[in-house]
């Protein structure tokens, strides 16, 4: 077993520190060391997007990033989208449009969608589909997901609602 490396990283706005082996992916560190199990493993080789997180505001597949690589960086996971004001407008839009069924791909899709809407406030349907091409969903057929993202566009400017449940 290789000696562990100390990693200091800001996750969801909080400065955290942990030890990991060089061979452990960021996904593994988030899930198994930090207990942030919201990001999921679907394939572990960058083809499904279920592990998507924001690394310095860029969408990455955390299964393809090593834990040691994020030392000194900033990471946002699905656990960081809601805050004391309530759910992120994207999350609320997903609830209102029933844009999830099993919910396994949902964290990755929310992260990827947030990255898109942070850059392009009003993307077309085609643009949303192309952006989300790296996030596989097997349950929904994507229809309600696209509609939820389109709807979230209008909501992002609004103040956040109290969580209803």
């Amino acid at each position: 077993m290789a000696a562990k490396t100390r990693v200091c990283v800001k996750i969801n706005g909080e400065q955290l520190e942990f030890l990991c082996e060089p061979r452990q992916s960021l996904l593994e560190c988030l899930r198994d060391i930090l207990g942030l199990t919201g990001s999921k493993e679907g394939c572990n080789d960058g083809n499904c997007g279920a592990c998507s997180v924001l690394l310095n505001e860029r969408v990455v597949n955390s299964c393809l990033v090593l834990g040691v690589e994020v030392d000194g960086q900033e990471v946002t996971t699905v656990e960081g989208l809601a805050d004391w004001r309530g759910l992120h407008p994207l999350q609320q839009a997903f609830l209102d449009h029933a844009a999830l069924q099993c919910g396994y791909c949902t964290p990755g899709i929310l992260i990827a969608s947030k990255a898109l809407l942070d850059r392009e406030p009003n993307p077309s349907e085609d643009r949303i589909r192309t952006w989300l091409a790296g996030n596989l969903c097997r349950c929904t057929g994507y229809d309600k997901i696209i509609r939820a993202v389109q709807d979230a566009v209008g909501r992002i400017a609004q103040p956040r609602e109290e969580v209803k449940r």
């Binding site: 899930r31 942030l36 083809n47 997903f94 999830l100 919910g103 229809d143």
Partner: protein, 764 residues
Amino acid sequence: MSKDKRSTPEVTDYEVVGTRPQRHDAPDKVTGRALFGADTNLTGMLCGKMVRSPHAHARIRSIHTARAASYPGVYAVVTAQDFWWAKDRGTNPDESGETIKYLHENMLAQEKVLYVGHPVAAVAANSPHIAEEAAKLIEVQYEVLPAVTDVREAMKPDAPLLHEHLVTQSLSKPVQKPSNIGSHFQNLKGNPTQSFSQADLVVEREFTTSTVHQGYIEPHACTVWWTVDGDLKVWTSTQGAFGMRDQLAKLLSLPMSNIHVIPLEVGGAFGGKLPIYIFLEAVAALLSRKASRPVKMTMTRAEVFLATNPTSGAYMKVKMGATREGRITAVQAELYFEAGAYPSADVIGYLGFATAYMFAPYEIPHGQIDAYDVVVNKPRTAAYRAPGVPQANFPVEQLIDEMAVRLAMDPIEFRLQNVVREGSELLNGTTHGNIGAEEVLRAAQSSNHYRTPLAGPNRGRGVAQGYWGNWGARSSCTISVNGDGTANLVTGSVDLSGTRTTIAMQAAEVLGISPDRIQSNVGDTDSIGYTEMSGGSRTTFATGIAAITAARDVIAQMRGRAALLWGVEVQDVTFERGIFVTRRSGEKQMFFAEVAGKIAETGGAVTGTGNVDPQGWGGAFGMHIVDVQVDPETGKVDILRYTAVQDVGKAIHPSFVEGQIQGGAVQGIGWGLYEGYQYDTRGDMLNPGFLDYKIPTATDVPMIETILVEVPGPNHPFGVRGVGEVPIIPPPAALANAIYRATGVRVADLPMTPVQVLEAMGVI
């Protein structure tokens, strides 16, 4: 034979049914709080890892585990020898129809390995990386045998035999000679041979479909803890906690009450996580017992493709005859389904489903279907959303289309000429109950999509329909009333896509309260009565009935409490729209919450129970319309517009019903255009990953328009019909029919990849 009573729903102006409340578990799922199969973490937990065969067909000569067992960080190693009590089990199925010996051998191979990925040993270590390293230290000596991965090859007289003693089960005279054909079933109605000779038009083709995987994004995962007193706790992603418990009791020879299965959230299943073929849990249990620690076992994506339970590829020959007026007179089919490494478990039943449903949308006086279950060196096959029917439907809907073209008839009009109604006889001699076949066809015909002309070169429109019979089965629900008028509901139905909400909605309708005043939970095997697995399009129907029954039980008990409070007899108390009323000496009323507030002082807790096994459920029809554009140079098929019409009985939560239809349609699109297992000559799978086994992405499909037809289903108070499986059936044939109209060629092999299309067009 008595007709199904045409459902007269007891309430028609619903307060809750038909609305779109927020899902109870959705906030957990959009915030990452929800716990799925791999999300359990226990103190001292170890990681389990399987060692798997690199050969498609081989005899195991020896397994040496000493080096792995002594590797630092390894706590246990197991092989089939650790199931010492299993060696004496014969090959006769038990009362569940599943052969325990096959189950054991599929979990950890004993004498032979029958597919690449077949487990032979397992290790538990204190990190997944150590477990992986230790797994590589297990030495297995194999004697490699020739492999067979195609049903036609497997049936040849000189084919290598997977099981030396397997003889074909059928209702014919018993055969003595072993073969790779596990079973053969035949349906025969009338005199098809004579009828064909008199038909004005006969069409006949051969078709193949590839092995496809359910493709759930969450790999199989479980955490198992076998404590020293013989108690077994299992946290797992499964479609059925009770089925899992019962299988583990058999596999591990433990009393059922010692086994606690806690079903976690499931990241997709579609028939691939049925608690019939147990892949990880029993092996993890053995590791846990040896190590005296909890063990988590998960699968990699490659392991999911190689070694779980995809659905059968098939080779089929189908023939249909009709009059020149467009009435079908006779049909004939030979269906050869892949069973995978072992003969198919009874309960998967795809031979039964395929033969019963493939021609079910049509009035047909003469027909013969022969269906075969053939073992090949691939993982065991199971259900993918509608077992056996997407495969068998693909030829039928194309031949129907071919006949319509030859007779210059509109394809929906042709189907209407032959439409089935209540009382119509299927080829297996059973009759249709209360169905909405004609309603679906007419809704498709009058849809905006069908009435909008499609213009442009290389474009074509195809339609196809399908039928699925749905299911009932045992369900259990309890409802406890809280002092503030809210309620806690527990069912045994694993929630795959929001059923805990549709079940709560049905209870809420009866109780006269809002669904967000009901906490809706999925119980584990200790906390609720036996409930059959979630699948077969049964949950909203059967568990809904359990919830309605429990809610009525609650109302009956609360009427008694109201009677006590008013000093009247219980028969003087009625419950109307959420209000308890008595009219004895002047009218008095109490709201549900008021009576709930007095439960404590009128006799204690009020808990309603519904343990049901409902019968007489209704089947459902669906028709899909698709417009495609085919690139004549590349063969790529682009979907321009897609509409799915379906009889849903009564949509309890319309958004969820739409979601089921859209999801099933896109799975069917993947089955039709992109997906298929590919093998080399050694029987090695070439594409066990999402890069080369392509499932549809957001760029591959347009919005899926849904048209919900509601012909109330029989024997459910609100007219529910199962909806989940119908929509995966029509897409492959609808796409093939559209491709035909766009290019003039019929593609008879799935998937209809660009290469297949170009080959069919004669371009390459």
